[in-house]
Symmetry: C4
Subunit: 216 residues, 4 copies
């Protein structure tokens, strides 16, 4: 094995290491919430009805866990697709990937806060959860943008990558997410009814979805 080839294999391995580190973080995040789901203490002396009620009370938590599991799974499979084009890495890529993983790691917290506080009169937990997911999408968009910008150096097939990653649709998020944040902060400050924030989020989801459909 000559040094040239040996170094190329080394570079591949560094990239692999970054990817498998991300996978380990994803795997921990995706299963972390199951630790929080448990019955109240000392049910051995409880009545049959109490036990059944305690088990039924687990169901919304299992539902929230399922939601966190599949949302994280979706981000993971997008990460899988994104990194399948890489053949090299840079320090910026490591930093952006860490920033993306940071927001992903907040997903379970966001869902658990939302579940614990959501009532017809209080949407704070829901807003917190939306914020976390939007920041996740935003950092993923920045990460995708970085890879596309440096495609000639970083990717194995630099020419087809823009259409493969549906970049023209995804880069809309660079404008759409900041606008949505500003809109939400304005709503919050002007003390209008929380419904207006929901309308904003629905409009954001509809518009970005329509653009993706139209472009691809």
């Amino acid at each position: 094995m000559d040094i040239q080839e040996s170094e190329e294999i080394k570079k591949e391995f560094q990239l692999e290491r970054m990817v498998l580190f991300s996978d380990a973080v994803f795997a921990i995040i995706i299963t972390i919430m199951v630790i929080e789901i448990k019955l109240p203490e000392d049910l051995h002396h409880a009545s049959k009805e109490d036990i059944r009620r305690a088990i039924i009370h687990l169901l919304p938590k299992i539902g929230a866990y399922m939601m966190a599991f599949f949302i994280t799974g979706m981000f993971w499979s997008r990460h899988l697709k994104l990194f399948s084009y890489l053949k090299d890495y840079t320090n910026s890529l490591i930093a952006l990937n860490l920033a993306f993983l940071f927001f992903v790691s907040l997903f379970p917290l966001g869902i658990s806060v939302m579940l614990d506080t959501l009532t017809p009169r209080n949407y704070d937990g829901l807003y917190m959860y939306f914020t976390i997911v939007l920041l996740g999408i935003l950092t993923q968009t920045i990460l995708t943008g970085h890879i596309i910008k440096h495609a000639q150096n970083l990717c194995i097939r630099p020419d087809g990558i823009e259409s493969n990653l549906e970049w023209r649709a995804q880069r809309i998020q660079f404008i759409a997410i900041p606008i949505l944040f500003i809109y939400c902060i304005l709503c919050f400050l002007s003390q209008v009814s929380p419904q207006f924030i929901s309308y904003g989020v629905i409009a954001w989801a509809a518009i970005t979805g329509l653009i993706r459909k139209k472009l691809y």
Copy 2:
């Protein structure tokens, strides 16, 4: 290295990534319960008998942990065998694998609920545990079915795969598990003695075991 070969290696690596992600989830699930096993607080001033009693009370929890460990280990080694035939992957495979991992990740919860609530008068925890394991087997069967159906594209030796995975015996579960669920729901609704549900599970285990033996 030409592009053709480079892409083939990339595809292998994506598959490897899906497999190692699954392994990380399995590894977390298989060890997660050990966090829950602990002594009550402040035993330093307790009497010798209290401490011995507290340690003895850990034993059923260690037993439940051992059970969860080896059941998860069995599912993992089946997953190892199943994925050893793959040479490619599809989006459906990623989704089915995530669904399978979701039910696997509920195993420790199921065992801990069963242990906390099982009394001669209350089988709710046991039913919950059976449900989780049966859904795990069901999604594993669906995953196996998907791989066999697309064996020509996905597998390295598509011809021998049906007999290698004992598919003729395992696909019985497509009918057997839904029948068992309907039977259990009917038992539950008609308020018959819980023993009838146990008879159903035993009959299911015996019939599927016999069919496997007869066929292979």
Copy 3:
């Protein structure tokens, strides 16, 4: 790539998967105890002395964590050496490896029980910890024995493996550990002073250490 070579690579990958799964379990076990180390709640309004006392109370826990970390690290590095000879695997190897990982996963529990209950008058936690570590060494010895017995099929250099793994010294454990267990149970049943058990453990450590030194 012909089918022969493709299958050989697949076999290598299955083995790699078993090894990396073990590594993930080791990594979780080795870091799991750090979650348990925390200050009591609400120290913000405590006096300076209370806070210093609380921090000093963390030190024995950090010591126990360090102990668990390096004992697990030693077992891991032995596992690394052991599996470096493998080129193939069997179902028994998977099962023995899982059994070994099971006892390894009990190490942090053993150390935490020992720390919480050890007093001059009570050695129960210490015995529990010894039992777990001895069962870990025993299953590791069984695993090593299985690999050496099937070295012709499983290993890359079957001839030198016995001396490389210091097998003639390690197989003593097959006799030494059961004898030690029987001795301890007899001590326990005849209600002699706990010191006698400690003498047994020290004798076991000294004898196996001397044999290893003499043989290699």
Copy 4:
């Protein structure tokens, strides 16, 4: 494949295993703190203001988590760079790597203790945190030193490694960190104002930073 080549691949794989084990430990450490961040129990019946206050109280914890996440990420990316030069390993390397991982695994504990106890009158938590991070930097320096000392056997490009790892700047830590520790212990024993310790840490950071800048 002849035996020579087969053994070389095996050696590569052992190294890969050590690296991926380290990555799994890093991944667990980097996400472990998110488990600790949670709302107080039973907020469903709390008033709107109480819920908002509880969510706002999460923010410093999320900030501490972010800090731990990125500090650990920095150590990880340095580890990635360091190990990218390796082609072989020794038992000392395994031991030094474990010692380094041990101090890394204490980072989340250090940050959480600091957050819980830091007041204008009490810096104990801050000192504990500094101590942990400094010991992490120290073991990383020892690890780097070991790799550079044995570069001819361990590394793929032994000649350029000293300048690549900025060794002339980093080895200053061998003297700087012990001096800092002795200074802090003297400050602590002579009961001077805690500010003096802060001055020491700032001087250490400034001097090592300046030396790095001047040398590279």
